[in-house]
Symmetry: C2
Subunit: 374 residues, 2 copies
Amino acid sequence: MSSDDFYAIIPAGGVGTRLWPLSRKGRPKFLYDLLGSGRTMIQSTFDRLARVCGPEHVVVSTGEAHVDAVREQLPELGDDNIFPEPVARDSTAAIALATAVLAHRHGPQIVVGSFAADHVIRDRDAFAECVRQATAAARSGYITTIGIAASRPSTAFGYIHQGHSLAQEILDAPSARIVQSFVEKPDSATAQAYLQTGEYRWNAGMFVMRADVLLDSLERYQPDIFSAITAIAEAWDQGASKRSAAVKQYWYGLEKIAFDYAIAEPLSAAGGVAVVPGGFGWDDIGDFNSLAALLPSSNRQNIKVLGNQDDVVFLDSAGDVVAAQAGRTVALLGVDDMVVIDTPDALLVAPRARSQEVKKMVSKLSGLGRDEIL
Amino acid sequence: MSSDDFYAIIPAGGVGTRLWPLSRKGRPKFLYDLLGSGRTMIQSTFDRLARVCGPEHVVVSTGEAHVDAVREQLPELGDDNIFPEPVARDSTAAIALATAVLAHRHGPQIVVGSFAADHVIRDRDAFAECVRQATAAARSGYITTIGIAASRPSTAFGYIHQGHSLAQEILDAPSARIVQSFVEKPDSATAQAYLQTGEYRWNAGMFVMRADVLLDSLERYQPDIFSAITAIAEAWDQGASKRSAAVKQYWYGLEKIAFDYAIAEPLSAAGGVAVVPGGFGWDDIGDFNSLAALLPSSNRQNIKVLGNQDDVVFLDSAGDVVAAQAGRTVALLGVDDMVVIDTPDALLVAPRARSQEVKKMVSKLSGLGRDEIL
């Protein structure tokens, strides 16, 4: 079954504070090749989706400050397919605007899918098949999410509690199930309990839905956002001046709210959300510890190097995560399980175990007014 | 009593391998302001000695590669007062050549003193008084060393075992004593035992002696070095071509041997060496741990910073030694008792406890052919 009516939206937002000084406000993690794969996070995301619906059906929503970098990294991205945001207004506004504009261009029956710009996905074919089933469920009127097979009792992700199968109802989506509820990031014990039931999956914030279904839900649950977005979308393709006037008038006042809270959770309570299980090897690189888990180790000491391996020289050291990004020699003597991030204007040293706290350092630097390195 | 007949020799040699990457082969530690005092090690040494005998009586012996840097740092140093070495031949050759040339210029009865370029001395007046007594003992014919009051059972220094007082014999040196023997760097238990006797002092390699006494001892204990040095010294002030011819003919073949072994030890066995106690606050910055002990701490966390304090930002960290020499922000999160040396082309991270092993890292880098950063 073809997916000519499917459009992929990439909201390219998150700064990745816990990956400082690698990730910066002015150059967020989605612009980096964090895995040394040869393609940046957003390039890999684009490639993955272009295989599903063709490059001309992929759009990117990002901050005005990142538009040039995105265009540079994605030359295949059409001029009309980039949605610059003057200020960030979270995922609901980003997804809704792109959807409303695409509906104007291609009709309200199109199916749109939203996929973060900075996720790691290993098996592209399994991902494509998963999106195909999600698209089928979306055509049947469900806002459909992709539930990631939980490989560990992570406390870093929200969970999806899945219910009965929708296989009878949606012939083209044999593994689709109804979503009973979305649950917040749990503590470790709760996460463990979730895994034992086999009914819970990670929420990766991927949503696939018909444009009209999304806009109807938006009107129902977020009428203010709906009317503002509708006004902007109507002006969007009416020339630069009309677009900027509408943006100036309506965008800034939009409520900052995540799509999960604004739409997915209330709609799931009404039985309107489906989930398709995803088993394609997914991860969200939240901090240097999780980055390390994804990097290949080229040595017995299990030292993970991001950058030029030859720049890192170690003696009696093991388990370190080193980013050699400044073209300098990084010499580690008797250093175990540490994070050493070497960039041209900032160096971070911390134990791997404290990777989550890197954001505290960023807050401190911000408090010190060191914005030029944040 | 005047010291018009006293000349100070500064052998500026040691690379300071354990202070890499701060200290480099091409730019040894004596060229750095390691204590953030505003003066480099060799500048402080020069200042200290100039107060004793005047700047025109201070000479420096150093590698040809460092001559320009030394001239730049010591504009007061006379052109005739720098002795360039085409290759290093250890302290006996360096001290003997400077002494022989000075004897030619000013007569064999002058007193010369040799003082390393990279030692830390706190009390300049106590040092000056000590040198004055050593000069008096030297005039009486003794090769006189300065025995540093041992403040701890260090295993990093050699020791001087002092014997009976020479106060009766040398009226101007009331605290001079005979040297029974020089002893090698001891183990910790032996060092502890030495301290308990009260008869041992640290050997800082400072020697004060009459030029003729040194040259006679050299002829007696190191006849080969004596004849080569005599030949070079005779040609030294006979014009550039004669000097370089003599250096080319005699210098390269000189035996590499420290002054302690070549002269001081055999002569002490013959009762020809005196010691004057030095209590002026002395240290030799051997590694980052000893450097840390000498640096002021500007914070409660006892983090020692060499460079711009503002470049170092720490959170939940304590006891670190940080050199911020690259003009970058160095951010430490949860890092205790570590050495972080940040230079433009090389970064070193190691526990303070392993400071002594930095030379192993330098050996490894040398083995990897990274000479450009050594």
